[in-house]
Amino acid sequence: MKQPRAANEVYRLPPPIFDARCKACWFTVGLLMLVVASFWSLDLQWAQFFSAEAAASMGRFVGEFFPPDTSPAFLHKVAVAAWETLAMSAVGTLLAAIAGLALALPAARLHAGDAARTRAPTRLLLNALRSVPELVWAALLLISAGLGPLAGTLALALHTSGVLGRLFAEAVENAPPGPAEALRAQGVGHGRVFLYATLPQVLPQLMSYTLYRWENNIRAAAVLGVVGAGGLGQLLAFHMGLFHMPKTATVLGAMLLLVAIVDAASLGARRWMTR
């Protein structure tokens, strides 16, 4: 069989990609400038940071955490607080995942030809939900729901719905289009195309975002404690402010444990689903 050879050199570089690249170049330059300007305008004190004395001082601080307070009375208190934090973050995340899933479809452009009329308003709603920090939501809700875990839970749920809605929408937009297109060609509606074709593909992604947000919310719930929502956060702020270092260490240990559990759950869930 004869090997056909091209007589001409075909490979002139096509412009479009390089155009895109160059837009990217400009973007990169802009980004670098922003970073440089940031560091420059902040007048950061690096010199003091890299000295033996600095390391020793930080070491002493960390050393104060040991040994953590393991008296049964305090452990019991921490366990109760950890449970409260876990409950707040779990319920908040669950509510948010449901809301996020419901908002992801209207917020996504499901295929190239999708007019996506609901996309802009839904995105606006999602943006608004997540622009308001959890702390502010909590403060707002504290007024109507009163002190206690409910306000914290709902604050987490509201803020997280905004976050998950957006992340879910993007995961849906990024999913390989093949399976969905096949069903769409058959005239199956958006919702069912999502359930039968897109969801199985993006499920690990959604799951890992949700579990990750749960983990995040454990930390956030800790911060919310400051606003009177209780849990590990209130304990942490209390003992940290009073320089009760061994007690602080116990609280930090509990937070570490919660985060590690959720991390392991997320790892396990992903392994289980992508096996």
């Binding site: 940031s38 004395e53 409950a87 403060a139 729901a145 995961a171 930090l252 919660l258 992903r270």
Partner: protein, 280 residues
Amino acid sequence: MTTAALPAHTAPTRDPAWLPRLFWAGACLVLLWPLLVATEFRPWVMFEKQSLKVSGQFIASFFPPAHSAEFLTMVLKETWRTVAMATAGVALALLIAVPLALLSTRVLSVSALSGRMARGPFWLRQLARWLLIVLRSIPELVWALVFVRVVGLGPTAGVLAIALTYGGMLGKVYGEILESGETHATEALLRNGAGRLQAFFYGLLPASAAELTSYTVYRWECAIRSSVILGFVGAGGLGQQMDNSMKMFNGGEVATMLLVFMALVALADRVSAWLRKVLG
């Protein structure tokens, strides 16, 4: 040609996955109950007349947003400060996150190609994971206090605190994005003898670049929002002002700053969408 005409076997009548599904659904419901109790989940109390009235009053105090020239200049200055700290913090966080994420990604493990990861790399990966967990589960405030001791009050401690916690978060999420995408191409490269980094750049990155950048932009946006903690160590910023006005129930000021937050978030969204388009 013979096909189904030969009834060699008959259709099963039951889905074998049925019982486990039922069991897990039930288990979830049973687990949910104590959680709802612990959070005192009674959302209807919010819709009692008294509650509605107070929240209505507070929301009403949002209008008009504060717009005195002095306040606006202050907000402008603090906004830049916040943006600068968030940018610097995230930039430093990337230095921590990228190597750790590459280290902890299983898809890039050469030994895992053989089914099970070898012991050495397994523990190295585990170590990286734990490092990431510790980095992100210790609240920014604690880090900030550690750093105040050596760099004093001011933005340095705040930026470092953001860098460490966000390094932990970014590292973890990068790892997850890399692992939950399509890994077929990467595996093929590794199997054909390409190096780890090569496989990352030629197989994994093109498939998840959009996702990775959009997450990074999102984290930047979070850094802006979480600048409350920066105030703890005297770094200032919008978050601190917001916290202030919130505590004082100064609705007008809160409204102005929320508008600024929304604008920044919308900007981040725009950038993220554009990047997705370019990379996607």
